[in-house]
């Protein structure tokens, strides 16, 4: 008795013998064994979303249950690899089938041939619980990969391998579990993607994730273990900002999910990252990066899965006590994949055709971020940063609105700024971050002026915005001299501090010190300018504002003290 395909509608396939399947189970569909996942069961039929193109599939072809949910493989070999949405390594697929991805292609996520130098850190006889340290592997020059007991396993360590080279399928430890059964442990294990990995407890995020982007770190900071969303219409620089965060942020591991975006962009990451060095460690950025690419023309259901594949990998590195940053570009495409599958299931749509469970799924995803105490007692974090692509740049659409409820930093990308090529085009008045207050004490160690400078900068931006409203109606002549100085000061802070060029080698990454000092120097000049009583026409020269604006480009990120020297020079 085996199940047969009864109906095919795009990526959703229906088969009979529903009693053979369980919800969320992975199924092999058709003669070629396309990967699918059970998403609905009725008395008669089983509905399966298929992660590959269903063209040519025929009614009557077999469907086989696999007894396991959709899983990812977690172990050494993840870093530097680029996967598709269901964790098939794209470079291996390319070796198998050339430049184009063929249907039904199959490849193990982690190489079984590669040998890893395992170093045991436990003695035989130890009583171990899930998450306990077994040993370690130097995975790349940047990252030491800790080999942990899988979360749900605990028992008495009977054997552990000596230091030496092992392949993934060679056991490195043997434990006797509480029920008396013995279980072999390997360098890797499997974990279902839709299930979050257990932790001891959650901690309050109180350390900033330094991104090197001034407008983010100084005005709208993000904490390690925090969540941020970045809505913006097309051309406002979402992807460039995500790339900049992935390049320069001070997380230990980056998980970059290209979810329904352009193929060339992922290629860009692949060609850039090996060449760029991590500003903290000097190692190539690629060595701390895992990529998941499900480009816009890849099957839509795999796009839905890619977010979960990514966050599960992020949690796995977090459990090793690392700080992980996850970028998802773009979560709107993930929501659209939900919508498309929901439509194929003929579910009742809620807003704009999206299913009613969109907010629940969004919340589930962002809640998997956080700073935690791991099972082993270490501290680790997953920071999630999601880009949103609102249709027509309309921020009142469901995905933007629901996401806004579940994130604590919200960076609005503004079309007008982007049109003037002012990048990062994060709107300084519409964006916000709830982490600002929690991170003050950290920043005060950089510069004791930080809090005051930052507040004055905010006030200046707001005041100038009001004045611009007046200018729009009355012209600049309607302003007093002081008001004109405010506008000039605002321009200096925007051009000299908030704007940051991704192409300028000095400017693309700003260390916290450089940011704090630059803010200090600029705000000091601004105060002097605002308190000035001389003519406004020559204020630019007198206060050397042009030099101030160029300061960020001329002083390298590691020469933060050079900024204070500039201040002393005049």
């Amino acid at each position: 008795m085996s199940a047969r395909i009864a109906r095919i509608s795009g990526s959703v396939v229906t088969c009979d013998h529903a009693e053979l399947f369980a919800m969320g189970e992975r199924a092999a569909v058709g003669h070629v064994g396309l990967v699918g996942e059970v998403i609905r069961l009725t008395a008669e039929y089983c509905y399966i979303q298929v992660y590959e193109d269903t063209t040519n599939l025929q009614a009557g072809e077999p469907v086989a249950p696999t007894q396991t949910p959709l899983m990812v493989e977690l172990g050494p070999g993840l870093l530097t690899t680029i996967y598709d949405g269901i964790q098939r390594p794209l470079d291996v697929l390319r070796e198998q089938s050339g430049a184009f991805i063929l249907r039904g292609a199959e490849a193990k996520a982690l190489s079984r041939d590669r040998q890893w130098l395992f170093e045991p850190l436990q003695e035989v006889g130890a009583d171990l619980s899930g998450g306990a340290l077994l040993g370690q592997v130097q995975e790349t020059s940047a990252i030491v990969h800790k080999i942990l007991v899988p979360p749900l396993v605990c028992g008495h360590l009977l054997k552990i391998a000596n230091k030496g080279e092992y392949r993934l399928h060679e056991p490195i430890a043997l434990v006797r579990k509480d029920n008396g059964q013995e279980q072999e442990l390997y360098l890797y294990h499997h974990w279902p993607v839709r299930q979050k990995r257990p932790v001891n407890k959650r901690l309050t995020p109180d350390i900033p994730l330094i991104t090197g982007q001034r407008i983010i770190d100084t005005l709208f900071p993000l904490a390690k273990g925090g969540t941020a969303a970045m809505p913006g219409g097309f051309g406002t620089g979402k992807t460039v900002t995500q790339h900049n965060l992935a390049k320069w942020c001070d997380a230990d591991v980056i998980v970059y999910i290209g979810c329904g975006e352009r193929g060339n962009e992922m290629t860009g990451v692949l060609s850039d990252f090996p060449k760029l060095a991590d500003p903290r460690t000097g190692h190539p950025l690629i060595e701390r990066t895992v990529m998941i690419a499900n480009t816009s023309n890849m099957p839509v259901s795999a796009r839905e899965a890619s977010i979960y594949t990514g966050i599960t990998i992020a949690e796995y590195f977090r459990d090793q006590g690392l700080d992980v940053a996850l970028m998802a570009d773009s979560t709107s495409r993930w929501a659209e994949a939900l919508r498309e599958i929901s439509g194929r299931l003929e579910e009742m749509p809620a807003e704009e055709g999206f299913p009613a469970y969109l907010p629940t799924r969004t919340a589930e995803f962002y809640e998997r971020a956080g700073k935690v105490q791991t099972l082993a007692g270490d501290s680790g974090s997953v920071t999630s940063i999601g880009a949103i692509s609102p249709p027509g740049g309309d921020f009142s659409e469901p995905v933007t609105l629901h996401t806004q409820r579940f994130v604590r930093a919200y960076w609005v990308l503004d079309k007008a700024l982007a049109n003037a090529r002012f990048f990062p085009a994060i709107h300084p008045l519409e964006s916000y971050s709830e982490y600002g207050a929690e991170l003050v004490s950290w920043w005060m160690q950089m510069s004791t002026h930080w809090q005051r400078d930052r507040e004055e900068l905010f006030n200046l931006l707001m005041e100038a915005d009001e004045l611009k409203g007046i200018v729009r109606i009355m012209g600049e002549d309607g302003l007093s001299d002081h008001q004109r100085r405010v506008l000039l000061a605002e321009r200096v802070t925007k051009e000299g501090f908030l704007r940051q060029s991704a192409f300028n080698a000095n400017d693309r990454y700003a260390s916290p010190k450089k940011q704090a000092y630059l803010l200090q120097v600029i705000m000091q000049q601004v105060r002097a300018l605002l308190g000035d009583t001389g003519t406004i026409e020559d204020a630019r020269e007198r206060f050397q504002l042009d030099g101030l604006i160029r300061l960020k480009d001329e002083i390298a990120s590691d020469d933060a003290d050079g900024i204070l020297k500039w201040q002393d020079a005049p």
Partner: protein, 491 residues
């Protein structure tokens, strides 16, 4: 896979009973085994005419077919429905260059049927690890594109236009002038192949007859045309761009040619998709377009690019007309999210008689940053572009203000910006239909435009960059002459 399918079934399956006809869809009531999802279908009606279709929905009781030529004239009995045992394909060999075909890929130039290997038109996904990142500058000879929004080989850069604007003219000019400049590239060994002229694959999707004729006549030389005209069957429009891209992939990745694909008009394509989706009963999202519009458009646009180890490339230049000039319309919006930038045409500038009427501020080329600069074009290219953009954006603000407060109340600096914008539009952007400017000429014009601004306004440039180019604008005669013209012209 298609091979295994063919082995299983050498003879087409033929049925004679239709169960239901609804819009462009017909259904057959039969428990059919051996029929694949997406399989190509031929329906021979009672008059003996052949219509083409595709399996759109498949279950154990019936088969639903989309008929590309429409269902008018079909009846429930007497039709012969043939299942071809394969998805829709296009025959390809080198003789396709120079051919004129209809939207289904059938010759309409009186030539012989297409020969060669049959390829599935739905295409397969290029593995991102196999792509080679586009970074080779294409000189289009159009200043507003080359300096401000450079086109790069392997890019997909749409033209966002509206009815009545000269987007066809512009596309033709680009197709005629576009060339690679190997002399600029620092990379050694790019060889002379780069100097080959681009092969143009032209897909007309529901365009007017005279537009199609104009394209066919003006893009002479090595061209393949797929023409679905405004009065051709709507369903065929879903196939036309895929036919064209299948041909382009063959030319680029099998024959190693550099291909420029022009797709016009993608708005009509989107409307055809909506029509079919509605008939199928798909849940609509924005403006009645189906939720999968994004994925569907992506399956077309993502078929641009270059592949490592293969010589050719596909550069896409889709054209779409924004209904009511609305850039937030779903088709323009989703296209903008998929493509690597957009060239926006402005009705205001066009009304002023300016050609090409490029609206600079919303236009963007995402791949420009990697395709220009030292060793690709010139080191001053990026900073100049950024400065021109910043100044033009400021000038637009001043213009807005002028409309309210009048020109008299403007400060001296603001007047400079107005003059700069005038100069930029009249001298830098405007050019003739057949004026082919080199990148060197274009860059120089850009620097000259900056001459109308005081140096201290140029905050996007470093001191060095300003000094290096000072000679270009100080004493730039055309600036002075232009300023005087303006002043006298205003009287």
């Amino acid at each position: 896979m298609s091979e295994s399918l063919k082995e299983k079934r050498s003879d087409p399956i033929i049925y004679t009973q239709l169960e239901c006809i609804e819009g462009p869809l017909v259904a057959l009531l039969a428990s059919l085994s051996g029929i694949g999802f997406g399989e190509a279908v031929q329906i021979v009606d009672r008059a003996g005419n052949v219509r083409h279709g595709r399996v759109a929905l498949l279950d154990d009781k019936r088969v639903t077919i989309e008929v590309f030529q429409g269902t008018a004239g079909l009846a429930m009995g007497g039709e012969r429905t043939r299942f071809l045992g394969r998805p829709i394909t296009l025959n390809l060999d080198v003789s396709i260059i120079g051919r004129r075909l209809n939207g289904m890929g059938e010759p309409i130039d009186g030539g012989p049927p297409l020969a060669g290997e049959a390829r599935e038109i739905s295409g397969t996904v290029i593995n991102p690890t196999a792509r080679s990142y586009p970074d080779e500058f294409i000189q289009t000879g159009i200043t507003g594109i080359d300096v401000m929004n450079a086109l790069v080989r392997g890019q997909k850069l749409p033209i966002f236009s509206s009815s009545g604007l000269p987007h066809d003219r512009l596309a033709i000019q680009i197709a005629q002038q576009a060339k690679i400049r190997p002399d600029l590239s620092a990379a050694v060994g790019t060889g002379t192949s780069s100097e080959q002229e681009l092969v143009v694959v032209f897909a007309a999707i529901g365009v007017k007859h005279d537009v199609a004729v104009r394209f066919s006549e003006e893009i002479s030389g090595r061209t393949v045309s797929f023409l679905n005209l405004a009065d051709d069957p709507v369903m065929e429009r879903l196939l036309t761009p895929r036919m064209a891209l299948t041909a382009a992939e063959y030319l680029a990745f099998d024959l190693g040619l550099h291909v420029l694909v022009i797709l016009t008009d993608m708005t009509v394509y989107g409307e055809a998709l909506r029509e079919v989706a509605t008939a199928r009963g798909d849940v609509p999202s924005r403006k009645g377009y189906p939720g999968y519009l994004y994925s569907d458009l992506a399956s077309i646009y993502e078929r641009a690019g270059q592949i490592k180890g293969k010589k050719g490339s596909i550069t896409q230049l889709p054209i779409l007309t924004m209904p009511n000039n609305d850039i937030t319309h779903p088709i323009a919006d989703l296209t903008g999210y998929i493509t690597e930038g957009q060239i926006v045409l402005s009705r205001d500038l066009s009304r002023q008689g300016l050609y090409p009427p490029l609206e600079l501020l919303p236009s963007l080329s995402r791949l420009m940053g990697d395709g220009v600069g030292e060793g690709l074009t010139y080191a001053d290219h990026m900073p100049l572009m950024e400065q021109l953009y910043a100044a033009y954006a400021r000038a637009e603000e001043v213009r807005m203000m002028t409309r309210i407060v009048g020109e008299e109340d403007l400060s001296e600096i603001d007047r400079c910006y107005l003059r700069f914008a005038q100069l930029l539009e009249q001298r830098f952007l405007a050019q003739g239909f057949s004026e082919d400017r080199s990148i060197e000429q274009s860059l120089e014009m850009g620097w000259r435009c900056l001459g109308s601004l005081p140096a201290k306004e140029l905050t996007r440039l470093s001191q060095d960059e300003i000094e290096q180019h000072r000679s270009m604008w100080e004493g730039a005669d055309d600036v002075k002459a232009f300023t005087q013209e303006e002043d006298t012209g205003r009287e």
